[in-house]
């Protein structure tokens, strides 16, 4: 025991000494031949078939088309973000370090201040710093588009996946936070705008990675007669898609094209085109157009959208018209659930 204590004390001394001596001796990076980027994914990790995967696609496209190289990392918990960003920044060999996901905001705020000459980008939230370009979305617009598809689809007759005469659609969000609430609000607005008779159910899983719970909630909705269900719930959404497939109803995916998960049941996907966003961020840096501050993206920038999958041609035509109205600014989609009904009333849709 005495030995262990002595060992501990020595260890402590060695550590402090090493730290003191090591100050200022951080890595000196040599300029790489090709532009080099780094990306820190959100905690869900690669394989979420959604957010992280989409960002990864954007990186790979940039690698191919813009001739960059990149390093990536998948953190396991929020507590790790700061040290991962710091380790990237410390090397001073990256032209841009990209943070994926809103929960990196704290860490990036700290690290960006520590490395003022390093360019950072963050997708999906806002970090106020002179060297950070924040890319956020007009979330409600995406909800609006898939909501409109859902509202029109549930009125179709003769489709075995549609519950006759009910006209109920649903949406399950990952967590009850403003960002997701804006999506839900947009969805409700879209569905009711396109089809005033529709009834919309909504719920939140409370976790980004709990497919089992999401499946349970989805089944409860399907029991009530929901026939088109949007899963805006990260990895949890996979459970909801599974439920829709098993019961043969329609599911709407989120973020990237999840059609392959249930080819006969994924109606469309509320695309957050993170790949385009990441690509745009890299392209901006390469062109010398890095813009710190908020870059708010939506349908008009091609950063949000929907995928066609099983959507019938007539609905595509109607929805594209609606989307164009939103993109042009003619329609301003409400981003809070409480504002949806007044908004519809104002437009005479109720």
């Amino acid at each position: 025991m005495r030995k262990a204590r002595k060992f501990s004390v020595l260890l402590g001394i060695a550590l402090i000494a090493a730290m003191v001596m090591g100050i200022g001796a951080s890595g000196v990076g040599t300029a790489a031949a090709k532009p080099r980027m780094a990306i820190v994914f959100a905690t869900g990790g690669l394989g979420d078939k959604s957010f992280n995967d989409s960002a990864y696609d954007g990186m790979k496209r940039a690698e191919k088309e813009l001739g960059i190289e990149f390093d990536k990392v998948e953190p396991q918990a929020v507590a790790e973000y700061e040290s991962l960003l710091t380790r990237f920044a410390q090397t001073r060999k990256y032209d841009l370090i990209i943070s994926i996901g809103f929960d990196q905001a704290d860490a990036l705020q700290t690290v960006s201040a520590r490395f003022p000459n390093q360019k950072f980008a963050i997708v999906d939230t806002v970090v106020d710093a002179p060297n950070v370009a924040s890319y956020a979305y007009r979330e409600a617009e995406r909800g609006f588009v898939v909501g409109a598809i859902a509202g029109l689809m549930t009125a179709k007759k003769g489709d075995p996946r549609i519950v006759a005469d009910k006209q109920i659609v649903g949406v399950i969000g990952g967590m009850d936070i403003p960002l997701i609430r804006a999506n839900v609000a947009g969805y409700i607005a879209g569905a009711r705008y396109a089809n005033p008779k529709v009834q919309v159910k909504h719920a939140y899983v409370g976790h980004w990675a709990d497919p089992a719970k999401c499946k349970e909630m989805a089944n409860a909705m399907l029991d009530e007669g929901v026939d088109v269900l949007w899963l805006a719930a990260g990895r949890s959404g996979l459970g909801g898609i599974k439920a829709a497939e098993e019961r043969n109803r329609y599911a709407i995916g989120a973020d990237s094209d999840q059609g392959y998960l249930a080819p006969n049941n994924i109606l469309t996907n509320g695309m957050k085109l993170v790949d385009n966003t990441v690509y745009m961020a890299i392209d901006a840096v390469l062109k010398g157009k890095f813009t710190p501050g908020v870059n708010l993206l939506g349908l008009s920038e091609g950063a949000l959208g929907y995928s066609r999958n099983l959507v019938p041609a007539d609905i595509i035509a109607q929805v594209d018209k609606l989307a164009a109205k939103v993109a042009s600014g003619e329609l301003k989609v409400p981003d809070d659930i409480d504002k949806v009904e007044p908004w519809l009333k104002a437009l005479g849709k109720q």
Binding site: K3, A4, E80, D103
Partner: protein, 352 residues
């Protein structure tokens, strides 16, 4: 347990780490990555330069507390699997109290907030201790269940009562005066590590010199004899779980006050569970928790670089870390479980 026991235990652990790394090398190699690059990054990421060392210390700090917490419960023959949950309630309690007290001088704020974290952890430790003492509910089961409750409860409380107005479910950022002071500027090495080492020193003394420590160990080694010796077995069981919970709660306090500067739901990468491995390696010696926590901190910190710069996927990296835990901790854990099982069957008759 003497000096020789400790030395051979360290020798054994060192061999186990090496063995795990060798098998890890085979895995990395056969998966098509460069073993040399992976391990040089592991080493550099843990020890190469200020920031790496600092990160190792930062990641060791919560493990120091959770490891100490689990080791303390071991002393009373209890297996506290609930350090993770205790860490969460401790983290939230400290964050909330530190925010609420922004009018007080910083030193008071920090001390009261730390006390709140320890108190919350102790409260969560009380429950399994009480259930064990009164109705014999096995603490492994109850602490595991309480982990779920604690993690969900803290998330709920944050969302409902203590939420930051921003887009993320988390508390407001702590003002500088409510934080644990940074020891090495530009890193997150905070006073937490010092508090951790002081806690080790204090509890080592309590265990070896105090009447309380004597009684807790007697209960842990032979509850029947403790009862015969006039020890209130139920009370010591509850107290041991509460002390253990308090220490695990401090792990959370140090995270929220010294590293994250706020409470964020699901922030912990399993510090409470890794703490079990730390305690198993440390064995009966409180002091040995320090190097054991440092080992796992280094693995986590070095693992970051392995992933960042050697391109090792997270799964492979987690596997290498898991191998180390398995090799180092499994034999000791096995014998400990066997012992607790035989103790359990001995107690089969139930006690008064």
């Amino acid at each position: 347990m003497g000096l020789r026991g400790d030395v051979s235990r360290f020798a054994y652990s060192a061999i186990a780490v090496l063995l795990a790394l060798v098998i890890g090398a085979v895995l990395i190699g056969t998966s098509g990555y460069s073993v040399k690059e992976a391990y040089s990054n592991l080493l550099m990421g843990a020890f190469g330069g200020v920031y790496s060392l600092a990160t190792t210390v930062v990641m060791s700090t919560p493990l120091l507390f959770t490891g100490l917490a689990v080791a303390l419960a071991f002393q009373c023959g209890l297996f506290n699997v609930g350090a993770e949950g205790q860490l969460y309630v401790g983290a939230l309690a400290s964050a909330v109290v530190a925010l609420a007290l922004s009018g007080l001088p910083p030193a008071f704020r920090v001390i009261i907030a730390l006390t709140a974290g320890a108190g919350a952890g102790a409260a969560l430790g009380f429950l399994p201790g009480y259930l064990k003492a009164k109705i014999g509910a096995h603490e492994v089961v109850t602490t595991i269940m309480l982990n779920y409750i604690a993690i969900s409860l803290t998330t709920f409380l944050v969302k409902t009562y203590f939420r930051d107005p921003g887009p993320v479910d988390q508390t407001v950022l702590l003002p500088p005066g409510s934080r644990l002071p940074e020891l090495v500027p530009g890193t997150r090495v905070s006073l937490g590590i010092v508090i951790g080492i002081l806690a080790v020193a204090l509890l080592d003394r309590v265990m070896r010199r105090s009447v309380l420590g004597y009684e807790i160990q007697a209960v842990g080694q032979n509850p029947h004899a403790a009862e015969y010796g006039g020890v209130n077995v139920a009370a010591r069981t509850v107290q041991a779980m509460m002390i253990s919970g308090a220490v695990a709660g401090l792990a959370g306090s140090v995270e929220s006050m010294g590293t994250l500067y706020r409470f964020i739901p699901y922030f912990s990468p399993g510090y409470g569970f890794t703490g079990i491995a730390v305690a198993v390696i440390a064995g009966k010696s409180m002091w040995a928790v320090i190097p054991a926590a440092f080992l796992f901190g280094a693995l986590q910190s070095g693992g970051q670089s392995m992933q960042l710069f050697a391109g090792i996927p997270m799964e492979l990296m987690t596997m290498v870390q898991g191998l180390v835990i398995l090799f180092v901790a499994a034999p000791a854990l096995g014998s400990m479980l066997l012992k607790s099982r035989s103790r359990l069957s001995e107690k089969g008759g139930g006690r008064a």
